[in-house]
């Protein structure tokens, strides 16, 4: 538990910043995705209530984006302990992991919201569009997954040698 130049006192600031960034930014994306696609889905339900259950897919995918952020925030928080060494390197790696999932999740959530809103309205008029809607949503979701993959790779590299 030493304070050296490699393990400065301020290193946990950046580690916690990473965990927070993952959660905050991906929850912003998920919130936008839920709200924006929810408007379209309620519109679908007004005219075709039988299509509502299948039209809920964008909302589920926006929730998954929030789970990506949760996973990275949990992984980063578990690595931090006041009684063990924590180097500046580990702090910056955790910051990078958090920002990576955070911004990717925010972008994915935004995309799912706009696409979900537009696609369910199309699904209302042409139910054969369901497969196309799901494909587009999957591609939007996988953007968040890319951020998660990079975060997981980075997190394995975080080590503290004082």
């Amino acid at each position: 538990m030493s304070v050296t130049a490699a393990c400065p006192v301020w290193a946990p600031f950046f580690g916690f910043a990473g965990a927070s960034a993952a959660m905050i930014l991906s929850s912003a994306g998920a919130a936008y995705g839920t709200a924006k696609s929810g408007i379209g889905i309620a519109g679908v339900g007004t005219f075709r209530p039988d299509l509502m259950m299948k039209a809920l897919i964008p909302v589920v995918m926006a929730g998954i984006v929030a789970v990506y952020g949760l996973v990275v925030a949990v992984l980063v928080s578990n690595d931090m302990n006041p009684s063990s060494d924590y180097s500046a390197f580990a702090g910056f790696v955790h910051l990078a992991a958090g920002l990576s999932t955070g911004f990717a999740g925010m972008a994915a959530g935004y995309s799912i919201g706009v696409v979900g809103d537009a696609c369910v309205r199309g699904y209302l008029y042409q139910p054969r569009m369901f497969v196309g809607m799901v494909l587009i949503l999957i591609f939007a979701e996988v953007l968040g997954l890319y951020g998660l993959i990079v975060s997981l790779i980075l997190n394995t590299k975080a080590s503290s040698k004082c």
């Binding site: 600031f13 916690f16 919130a31 007004t46 928080s77 931090m80 006041p82």
Partner: protein, 208 residues
Amino acid sequence: MSSYYASKTAFLFYLAGIFALIVFLDLVFTGNGVQFDVGRFLTDTSPYMWALLGVGFTIGLSVVGAAWGIFITGTSLIGAAVKAPRIRTKNLISIIFCEVVAIYGLIMAIVFSSKLNDAELADGEVWPKSAYFSGYALFWSGLTVGVANLCCGVAVGITGSTCAIADAADPQLFVKVLVIEIFGSIIGLFGLIIGLLMTSKVREFDTK
């Protein structure tokens, strides 16, 4: 202001950026460049500042989110209930979902403030590493809980407003659109979980 190329918020960001640049260049050109030190700033400020900022952000931002959600839902609810008065009691649950976001923030602020204790430094003493850890953990946890609840409150507000209007159009839609609102409210719950996780290992502020 509307005739400018950039929006009002962009204008403020540019102004803040120019001010920061002027401060930075002043330090560099007067031979005091070594004072521009992020690590020194982080260690010279008291850990209590960070911790208490976190507590303030927790309750402040959560309540902003809850209030925002309530006014979005409430206005739509009353407007739709003019033509369909039967919806007014059932859709109060959307208002309650937004209120719950503020309760999350309140609970977390109380939990975080219970980790604070008044320790004074003697002359020449520095805070131990665990005190800085506690300060930073409480700051970022507070910000996480606050901003997650802010986003959640707005999302629940928008979907609650959608729920009220859909219910006014067709009563059987209420439960289905409520599902979307539940998905929105889990975002605040995730923020709560992360806030609790980050501060679980926080030790009390001790001068040893």
